[in-house]
Structures are given as C-alpha cells and as structure tokens.
Symmetry: C2
Subunit: 485 residues, 2 copies
C-alpha cells in the first residue's frame, strides 16, 4: 500500500518538475506571445496536482499508512503537510489567488516601468486580502503572516525568525554606519568587459567550481534563477555592465544547483529527493556566493583566471576589495552583502504589518522611503526604485523575504562548521579544490533531501540551532579587516 501511495507521490513530483521546465522555458527561451498559453498550461498542471494531493484516496493513505522507518515517516510528514494545507483551502479561492496574481504581475511590471504605484495599489490590496483569507482557512488560530511564512519556511518558528532578523539588523546597522563614515571604495578594477568575455569567465568559474554540464545548463536571463532536479539542474545569470556581478550571480545560482544535484537520485520526485524549503536552499547559494566567491582565498585562486580571460592585470586584493565594497543602494539586488539585509528587514516589517492590517496599501511608498532613510541613509528617487522594485508581492508572495536573511545566517553557520571540520579550508579554496567543500555539504545537507526538517538539519550539521552569531562574527571579522574598525 505504501508503494501505491509512493507512486502517486511520484506523479505529484513529476507534475511539479514538468511545471518547472515550463517556467524555465518561459523565462529563458519562450517567444513573447507565448505567455497566455503558457499560463494555461501551468495552471492546468497546478489543478492536476491539487486534485492528486487532495483526493480521498490520498487522504486515506495519509490517515492509514504506518511508516516503516524514518524515511517513510518523512515522506508521510511532507506529503501530509501539503495535503492538510491544500484540503483546507477552497478551490475557488486558490483559483482566485492564481488569477489575481496573473493579472497583478503585468500591472506591477508596468507600474514599475512607469513609476506609478497607484496602478499597482488595487492589485496589492486585493492580494493582501485574498492571502489573509487563505491563511484563515489554513490555520484559523494562527496569525495570518505566520501561515504565509510557513509556505516558504515551514520548519522555523516565526517568533524565533523575527528575533534572529532583529539581531541581524541591530548587528549590521553600526557596521554599515562605520563603513559609510570611512568613505567610498574605489570602483571595479576591470572597466568595461564585452558580454562574451563575461560569459566565458562565468563558464570557466563554473567548470572550476565543479558544475557538471552533463547534468546542467547555464543561460542568461534578466533575473538570475535556478531550477531543476538531480539529473538536470539549470542556472541563469545576467550579463550587464559589471562582470563581477554576473560572475557572483552565477556562483550564487551554482550553490542552488549544487544542492539540487546532490539530492539522492534514487528518490527523484519524492520528498526524499527534493530540497528543503527556502532557508536551506538559500543557505547553499549564499555560502558559495559570499563565503567562497567573496573570500580572499577564492580570489587568490581565481584572479589569474580572470586576468587571462579579460586580458586585465588585477591583483587578488583589488578584486577582493571590489567584490566586498559596501555602498547603500536603493535596489536590493544591486546591494552588497551587508546593506542587502537591511532591505530585507524593511520589506519584512512592512509586509508583516500589511498582512496584519496595521498598515494600508497607500501608506507603503512613504513607509518604504522613510525606512530606507532610517536604515541606509538614502531615499529612493522613485517608487520604481523603492517599494515597487521587487516582483514578489505581485505573485502574492508575502513571507518570502525573511528566508533571504535566514539563508545568509544559515550559510555562515554551516561555513563556520565546515571550517572547523575541514582542516585548512581556506588553503583548500585557495588551491581551487572545491570538491572538499562540496562533499561536506553533500554529506551534511544535500543527500538528506527532506528527511530532516529545517531545524533538525541545521542542528545535525552544526551542532546548534540556527543563530545570528556566526553571521555577525563573520561580518565583523571580514569587514573589520577590510575597512579597519
């Protein structure tokens, strides 16, 4: 009977993977007029998944099956959780949210382009209200924002997460102020680099990091992302003016892909072969982007490759300082490793109050600009560069942002443990022997799929619950040395 259940679970998993291919295609290669038909295709897959997940048959299995061992228990826990949430929400509401989000996205896009918050406001209002109703169905006795947060991170307590984020914010603010007082850093040491060379460098970096192109792809897209499964993990990067940005975006996505490729192949399309939610996933990308890709050890290894590819003559120290420049920027995705989290903190505060009904939609632009001034000392010149900059709300995704910062904390904590357990990790990185670190992550994180919950996973890997300390210690050490405080 468990086998029948598992077959159905695999069907669910395969429908999800099919939908991922359709989304990748839409972002990377689809002709522009394909949007409407693609939306129908993806929505059909969602409907099919919803029906499989909420079927009576599925309900019976989940009720009656007795797990044999930890793995079966994990599969039942994960599918059971999704089933519970799905059956509680009326199908009509799911469809309404999906339709409203489909309508909201192009309006957000246009509102951002035309710097016209008014255009997006009614959709945002509607989405907040619909998601509040959604949360009310899922868990009537829980604060709506918490329910929404659990869609992205089910296994960390929101109260704990709030404390961590607040510790992080309070730890970062003085550092950012201190650095700001120290004056501006010099610009990129590289100047203009043609796009082909930027891509050539990215490909070279991925090869050296150990990305398996027989099981993955690299493409370009306006917003870098990663998707796929253990047999086919795809990443994108953007090629724009700053070649180091395009490189580090790719290294970030490489971290996601490495997680995906490290999932057990035998459990493809079941929870044991799927990654944990956003915090863990983001920890993998941040670890590679920041703890490796922004380290001096990495640049001691990689600067010669960069110079060879670009025909430049930069020194490791120059590039290292270049990629660790701290400079408040109105746009999150243009921000450095530190000020980034103040963007997240602000978005988190506002969306939490929005969902709680303590703030009205038309107050958002003002709150955003005031918050930016308070946290970063800059005031966005437009809503386009202000509260309209990010896509998430137009998808109806509230509760997503905290996972960005939680992911960074987890990355720091994992890297600190790896540094303790792998003797001379810095030297190993400097020699370009990345497989040592990859193996450690595969062993501690990737291979477990969803066997352990987020909190179990971090505790098993690092011996402690998720904490802001390793992150703040890392920041203090690295930026203290760089900026001399």
């Amino acid at each position: 009977m468990y086998e029948d259940f598992l077959r159905e679970v695999r069907r669910l998993g395969n429908l999800g993977h099919a939908a991922s291919v359709l989304r990748w295609d839409q972002e990377v290669v689809m002709p522009e007029e394909g949007t409407g038909a693609r939306a129908e295709q993806i929505s059909t897959l969602s409907t099919q998944m919803h029906e499989l997940l909420t079927s009576e048959r599925m309900g019976r299995w989940l009720e009656e099956l007795e797990p044999r061992g930890r793995r079966e228990a994990a599969v039942l826990r994960e599918v059971g959780r999704r089933h519970e949430r799905a059956v509680r929400v009326p199908e009509r509401l799911v469809e309404e949210i999906s339709r409203t989000a489909s309508e909201a996205f192009p309006e957000w896009n246009r509102a951002k382009r035309e710097d016209d918050f008014e255009r997006f406001a009614p959709y945002l209002e509607r989405l907040v209200e619909l998601k509040r109703r959604y949360a009310g169905h899922v868990e009537p006795d829980v604060e709506p924002y918490e329910v929404l947060f659990q869609d992205f991170e089910p296994y960390l307590d929101l109260r704990d997460a709030e404390d961590l984020l607040e510790e992080m914010r309070r730890g970062l603010s003085p550092v950012v102020e201190e650095i700001g007082a120290g004056g501006a850093e010099p610009g990129s040491p590289l100047g203009e680099v043609p796009e082909e060379r930027q891509m050539a460098l990215v490909i070279r970096a991925l090869e050296l990091l150990g990305f398996d192109f027989a099981r993955g792809r690299l493409d370009t897209s306006p917003h870098p992302f990663s998707t796929g499964n253990q047999f086919d993990a795809r990443i994108t990067t953007r090629v724009g003016s700053d070649p180091l940005d395009s490189l580090l975006s790719a290294v970030h996505e490489f971290g996601h892909a490495l997680y995906t490729l490290g999932l057990p192949v035998d459990h493809y399309a079941t929870p044991l072969g799927e990654p944990r939610e956003l915090t863990v996933h983001e920890s993998q990308s941040r670890l590679w982007e920041n703890h490796v890709g922004r380290s001096l050890a990495f640049w001691r290894f990689f600067t010669p490759v960069l110079n060879e590819t670009f025909g430049t003559d930069a020194s490791p120290g120059e590039v290292y300082r270049g990629v660790n420049r701290v400079r408040p920027h109105p746009v999150r995705v243009e921000s450095d490793e530190l000020t980034y989290h103040l963007h997240v903190a602000l978005r988190f505060e506002i969306e939490r109050d929005l969902v709680a009904g303590e703030v009205e939609v038309d107050e958002v632009p003002g709150l955003w600009n005031d918050g930016m001034e308070r946290y970063l000392g800059i005031r966005p010149e437009s809503d386009a560069e202000g509260c309209l900059q990010d896509v998430h709300w137009s998808h109806g995704s509230f509760g997503y942002f905290p996972t960005y910062s939680l992911g960074s904390m987890m990355a720091a904590q994992l890297y600190a443990s790896a540094s303790e357990e792998i003797r001379g990790l810095d030297d190993i990185v400097e020699r370009g022997e990345f497989e040592t670190l990859s193996s450690w992550l595969r062993e501690e994180v990737h291979r477990h799929g969803q066997v352990y919950t987020t909190d179990e996973l971090v505790e098993r890997a690092t011996g402690a619950p998720l904490s802001s300390e390793p992150f703040l210690a890392y920041v203090g050490e690295k930026f203290g040395e760089l900026y001399g405080f």
Copy 2:
C-alpha cells in the same frame, strides 16, 4: 454542460501542449543526463491525459451532449474518437507499449551506430506484436495495419491511400529511371559555407517568408522538427555540410509552423484550435519546401539574398537545378523530391506485411536491400544506411510512413488550386510576396483546425478528393523541363 466538457477538453489540450514543451526541451536544450527524469515526467503527463480522456465523466458527456452546430459537433467527434480508442485498450498494454518503446529506442540507436540489426530485432518483434494486440483491442474486425494507420491519419481510407501510393510509385519509377539515364547533375554551386552563415541565411529566409519570431523560435537539432501552438510555434533545422539542405529543411518546418500559427487563437487547446493529422500537416510543410522553396520563381527572388549572405555569385538557374538534383540515395532524409517517395513506398510495403504477419522480422534487412535495388537501383552498404536508418519503428510507429507521401500529394493538389485561384502566383512568389499564399492557406486550411475531417478539408479547398494526379502532373512538368524528357 457543454462548457464543463469543454473545460475538461482544454485541460487535456494543455497537458498535451505541456508535454510538447518537454519534448522540445529534450531535443534542443536538455542536458544529456536528464533523459530518465524527463521520460518519467512525460509518462506522468500521458497517464494524466489517459485518465481524463477515459473517465466516466468524459464518457457521460460524450454520450449525452447534443452538439449545437458544426463546431460543437466537431469537438465531440474528435474527442469522442480519442475516447473510444483509449477506453478500448487496457491500460497495462498502453504502459507495456510505452515501456518497450522506451527500451527499444536506445537499442535502435546503438544498433544503427554499430550496424547491428540483430540487436534491434527482438525489440522490433516485440513492438510489432504489441501493436498488433493494441489494434485488436481498438477494432477487432479491422485489419491491424489499418487501425495503426488511423492513429496517424484517421480520415483517409487505407484502401484509397494504398491506391494513391501505388499510382504515385508507378508514376515516379519511369521518371526516376529516365533522369538516371540522363547522367549526374553537377554538385552544389556554393561550396563550403561556415555554419553561422548557414544560420544567417535560414533566418533571413524565415523573415522574408513571414515567420513571426514573436510567436516562434528557430533552433538547431540533429533531426529537424516543429512543435508548438498558435502562440508559440518552434522549428529546428540542422546545419551541416550542405547549406541548401539546411535552408530547405527550415522552409519545410516553416510550413508546419505556419499551419500551427494559423490555427484560431480563440480555440487554443481544443480540437478547433489544433491541426489536423499528419497528412494535412505534412502537406503544409511539403508545399512550402517543394512548391515554393524548390521553384524557379523562389530562386529568382532569393538567389540575390543568398549571394549577399554567402558572398557567392550563383545564378537562380544554377541554384534551382542544384536543389532539384535527382540522385538515388540510400538514406531517405538525404533524398530528392522524387526518389524520396520510393523509400516511403518500400517502407510501407514492408511494415504492412510485418504487421500482417506475412513477413518475419529477420527477413526485413534482405527485403529492404532488395527493394532498394528494385526501386532505386542501389543497394545500401549497411543496415545502418538500410532498414535501420529511420527512428519510427523504434517508437512503435507503424502506419506513419504513408502520410509522408500522402502529404506530398495533398501539397501538389493544394498548390494547383492556389495557382488557379491566385492570378499570377509565380510572379507573386518571384516578388517575395508570400503573404498572398499564406493567406490562401490560412483561409482554406489553417483556420479550420479540426472542424473538417481530412477528406472534407481537401475537397472543400480543391473541389476534388485527394488524388495523385496533381502531384504527377507537377513532377512531369517540372522535371521534364529540367531534365528534358
């Protein structure tokens, strides 16, 4: 109630389109290790479609719904036909065929590479037997080959088709002999052309033919194909040694795509917005490839573009003769417009006898080689270039080949009608005003989706049932003039 039915039909259609995207991805961009997971994804979509199609609910709708008007009747006819066929075949047999085909494909691939028919033989035997059983379930009282043929062309009678194919073969044989006696034609007037320039020419040709890149893509793949829907139609071509082959492959696929893009947008994902089966589809590709792309009028228009792109100095007449060279070749897809159909005739004879049990699998290589000698005067040097050359049988597709030649006949018949109805069509083509012809085809063929059956469609568009005469008249005129007989 019809609306509920139609909603379910759209779900079916969307699942089919999703599967098409997955297949395109597999052929064009998927990393090599993705094959196994992709097979599971596609198989899951097939299962979902099978369940929707054979559900009791669907059965009730099809039984009880009274169509209001021709369009509803067509939708009910088409879905009803698929439903009938699907419910009659045991699910286990469907799965066994699918699994056997999945296993057979790589074996065929290897057998072809290693020229080892014995390796493929047991799979072919198994597939013939399974498909015979399949046919027995679908229509126990009909000859199995006919049932299989109807999977690809449900609306032409197999007896009629056989007569047409036989007329074609008998009409072509003396022409091919006559030309063969006339001595070899000169090779391509262009010499070697770098791949980028080949692609540049293909893109230029597609632009001039009116391919809408906002609703389509061009890529490369080892075997050119087309796929998609009215919002997103994709074609591929191969770039190899012969630039005219890569161009004409693209023009062929353009014909398929133009059909797809001409389907009514309001009926996306229902039979009214889907193309008719293979004969009609193939007629569209052949019409553009042969009646346009291999015409003197086209080359009078396009040779300057070609010379400009390649930096050559060819004359329209030279290129025209080049693309109409007749030369028996052991490989179908390398063959010219005439000898091509003798390949089809032979494959058709053999597979018909194979399915009828009148021929054993181990006789196939001998029959193939003898047939080649009889029809084309050449004997393949290996099974790889002989009976193993084509992929179709490894998919379990028997009854597919006749539609290639039937499509050519239909193309000739349609083009003859277009020439009668559009005054000075040759001059119009020579001026590069392809929209005139596209409009005619859209009006007569594309916009109807599956409203009319194949035989109705051809009769409405040309005033006569499908016939071999227009094709043979076209061949006689064109090749008579070219080769002087």
